[in-house]
Amino acid sequence: MITRYKQLTKKYLKNNKKRSMLTIIGIILSVSLISSIGLFLKGMQEVQIEKAKNTYGSHHLQYTNPDKGLIEKISNNPKVARNGTFNVEEEFTINDSIDVREISATNQALELLPYQVKEGRFPEDEGEVALEGWLLRYIDSNADIGGKIEINNEEYRLVGILENNIMEQINNRGNILKKGNYSGEKETVLLVEISSKTNLKSAVKELSKLGEEDDFEKNEALLGVQGASERDNEAFLGLYIAVGVIILIVVISTIAVIYNSFQISVMERIKEFGLLRAVGTTPKQIRKIILREATLLSLIGIPIGLFFGIVAIYSISFAFKLIGGENLEVFKPVISPTILGCSAAIGLVSIYLSALMPSIFASKISPLVAISSRKSIKKEKIKRRKSLPVKITGKLLGFEGELAHKNIKRNRKRYRITVFSIIISVILFITFKSFVDMSLTVTDGLKESQNVHFSITRGVQGTSEGITIDEDVIKEIEDISSVKKVYKVYDGYEFNMEIDKNKEIKELQGFEQDIYRESSSNGKTEISGSINIYDKNVLDASKKYVKSGNIDTEELDEENGVILIRKNRIFNYDTNNTYYGPVADIKVGDKINVSERLYWDQDEEKADKLGEELKVVAIVEDEVFSYNGNPEGLRFITSKNVAKRFTKEESLSPINLNIVLKDIESEKMAIAKIENIIKENPDLEIINHIDNNRKNKSSILMIQILLYGFVVVVSLIGSVNIINTLTTNILLRKREFATLRSIGLTHKGLRKMIVLEGMLYGIKGIIYGSIIGSILSFILAGGINEAREFSWGIPWSTIGIAAIATLIIGYLSVLYPLARIKKDNLIETIKGDY
């Protein structure tokens, strides 16, 4: 027996297991989503911090030439975790190119410097050294840990091998670590790490006052990723806003689910609350009963949600390791109590927010409600007029259809709640799905380039000398058995071109960089333009990307034909947005006058008059291979013969080669053969794209997993909402359905009516949701910084998926209550409320 009125809450929840479960599932989904987003970002930060520590050191601050007093002050400051001094004892050069520093440091300084022990340990005594692996190879490749090693004519004991510090390695600087104490003789640096228990920002401020301005330096790289930099805050602002928006969306969908669930459960018990009020329950007590329901559900849902959040983050980490391998570490799963606490708090607040309104509603229920059992009919104001849509559904779907349509319209509140919940779900799905689709198309710009396995390029030296690749070399590479294709890449050539005024794009006219210029001659618009040469192989490979027109090599040669790359990326300096779309309104068949050829001759820009005309024979959406030309002008592709006419050059030779293999398995073999071919020409370098592409492809896959995972969870939350509302919608009216059946409506007819009702709700929700969702997706499209997609299209396919999914969910969710109704005894249902 219950002994306190508050225990009513538990009873209610237990009696409504199904809905309580649904509500809890909603809570679990959103809390786990919020916490996994948080943990993911935290994990990313963790990786960044580790990288910063490995490259720049674990210290936050450093003081040059500190006096004894300062060292004393620092070591006694409770906000300091670790501190230590080091000095550079000696510098010398080995192998003519590597600068080696002998660093003598105290124990804690050794830990704070950006060197990690790979094998062995840090030096602890004088005469012991540790150094980087790559440097060791130059000094004594046979040295073992524990053994003797001679450095700069002195003998030491090697106690540790350090991880390579990439930054130093690139700069050809090696470090040898030795143990030493503060002497104050040479230039000494004091490194300070601030304790994690104190506020980093204020500690930095406080400690920075101790040092002279010239002798004091912050480790900005580390402070930046730890969020305590004064400078970098703006860079994080965008991230914060994005995370805020995402969490807001999750919170809104959570509130929608829980609000619905509570509102429905209150409406269902309106009579009971009325009765409780009649026997003297105060409004406050009623509110308490409902808010306690919220508390109980939170107590169950939130911990499980946090648990799933952690599970999710480890699964993502596992999946990422499978995809990207060890070297592509995007984030490190951490269980951060702060993040979990915040997620729980956000969850709790949104649960209370959503339970508040229904609880206030319930507390205002009049006690009279309990007395009159006619309430449910009296209270509903049913419109008597037969509206046109009702008539139409009636005609189309028979009496049951007409009833269904009347039913959904008869109770405004219920109608609104149901349609609102469907709208929210549809909006969330459409907005996010289209957002994800948009951002993914942006990341995947270069199409054919991703299939290239190796490139041969000119080195820095070769580029400045303007060397080209000989036909013999190309022939030799083509002859390698595992090579499938060799694409020749030529230099890009720049021109001034003329287009009609009406071909200008309005949006670009205001850009600061004068994309359109007044032409000197004939009132036309002058615009920059460039031509890249594709050989037959490349043109063939481009064919599948053609949007309009077609590529015919002979036609190109005969008619000065060119292929236009339609979309350019142009940065707008005024708005800091990137325009992504056509630079001029050019169609297949348009003829464009090329007025000048631009080129550099001994550091001087030259312009030769030209009077040729070229004809656009085909248009591709995006660059198929990386393009070499001014992105703020027209970009054309053409054949070598046409290019010769425009450049007036006798011979055009490729500067780069792109190589496609028959089989990636032969990567190693092929690379050895190609290296052998080009080794006589020291200016040529080989780039292995297989590796880069692998990384690129896996990053894209990772982003897809993350974003679609998010969409899936958000849609699940939405589905819970729909199931919840539709199910209870029907169960609330059991008595009415029983009456209908008693006067002769068959179960089949009832089923038809209820299913139609669910469908009608769904259709209304889909219509409104699609409209709002599309508008939001349009706004988001404008907001994507990198991609100002000019031609935003209504996301029809997404709307289609949403519509079908909603109808299916709508259908499935009425099946369960229908089955329950079928089981019920007719007479009992009509008679009683129990």
Binding site: M1, I2, T3, R4, Y5, L8, K11, Y12, N15, K271, E272, L275, L276, R277, A278, V279, G280, T281, T282, P283, K284, Q285, S366, P367, L368, A370, I371, S373, G832, D833, Y834
Partner: protein, 230 residues
């Protein structure tokens, strides 16, 4: 010892406004003594239910006063009014209105639960015995017959030892034998615990069990007769 427990002064209740204004009660004046058993009769729409709701603090009058134990209850805010109902009034409704998820014992003890009081187990057992529900005290409302449900509702109304029991057609849903039993039970307990019992009915044989019969018509008292004076 007779003393006035309930007093009604110029009570008016109107529904709607202007054109479709309905005057449910017109200037009702009434006084009820401690321990009285009053029946209110009248045809449907005469205003008897409205009067009972106003006596029990369930609704608010358009104007006029209801004074219970010397306190004018409509001066109270909703929170206080609810507590008044809980402690001073016991309601019995036509449709029993039990909480479906609570068993017999819990339904009876509900008013005390709302006060966060310790439940007087002895009193609860006594009540259950008087009601004749000993072998069904752990049943849920759905497992009881109509008469049994109404007995539980009586138990609930009595549990906080209110000074006034208000019964709105308590027998309206019961057969004649059960009806008689229920009213006798009410009469018995009202006597036993020295409570005032006000009962609405349209069945004359039920009404005639009372000490006093008040007849309403179109919102006005048209007769107020004492059948017996003890």
């Amino acid at each position: 010892m007779k003393m006035e427990i309930l007093k009604v002064e110029n009570l008016n209740k109107t529904y709607g406004s202007e054109i479709n204004k309905v005057e449910a009660l017109k200037d009702i004046n009434l006084s009820v003594n401690n321990g009285e058993f009053v029946s209110i009769v009248g045809s449907s729409g005469s205003g008897k239910s409205t009067l009972l709701h106003l006596l029990g603090g369930l609704d608010r009058p358009t104007n006029g006063k209801v004074i219970v134990d010397g306190e004018s209850i409509y001066d109270y805010k909703e929170e206080r009014l609810a507590i008044f109902r809980r402690r001073k009034i016991g309601f019995i409704f036509q449709f029993f209105n039990l909480i479906p998820i609570l068993n017999v014992k819990e339904n009876i003890a509900l008013p005390a639960l709302l006060d966060n009081d310790k439940i007087d187990k002895k009193y609860l057992d006594e009540l259950i015995k008087i009601l004749g529900m000993e072998d069904r005290k752990d049943h849920l409302p759905s497992e009881l017959s109509g008469g049994q449900q109404q007995r539980v509702a009586i138990g609930r109304a009595l549990f906080n030892k209110p000074s006034i029991i208000l019964a709105d057609e308590p027998t309206g849903n019961l057969d004649s034998v059960t009806s008689k039993e229920v009213v006798e039970l009410l009469k018995f307990t009202a006597k036993k615990y020295n409570q005032t019992l006000i009962l609405i009915t349209h069945e004359l044989n039920i009404a005639s069990l009372a000490d006093r019969i008040i007849t309403l018509k179109d919102g006005e008292i048209i007769s107020d007769k004492y059948l017996r004076n003890e």
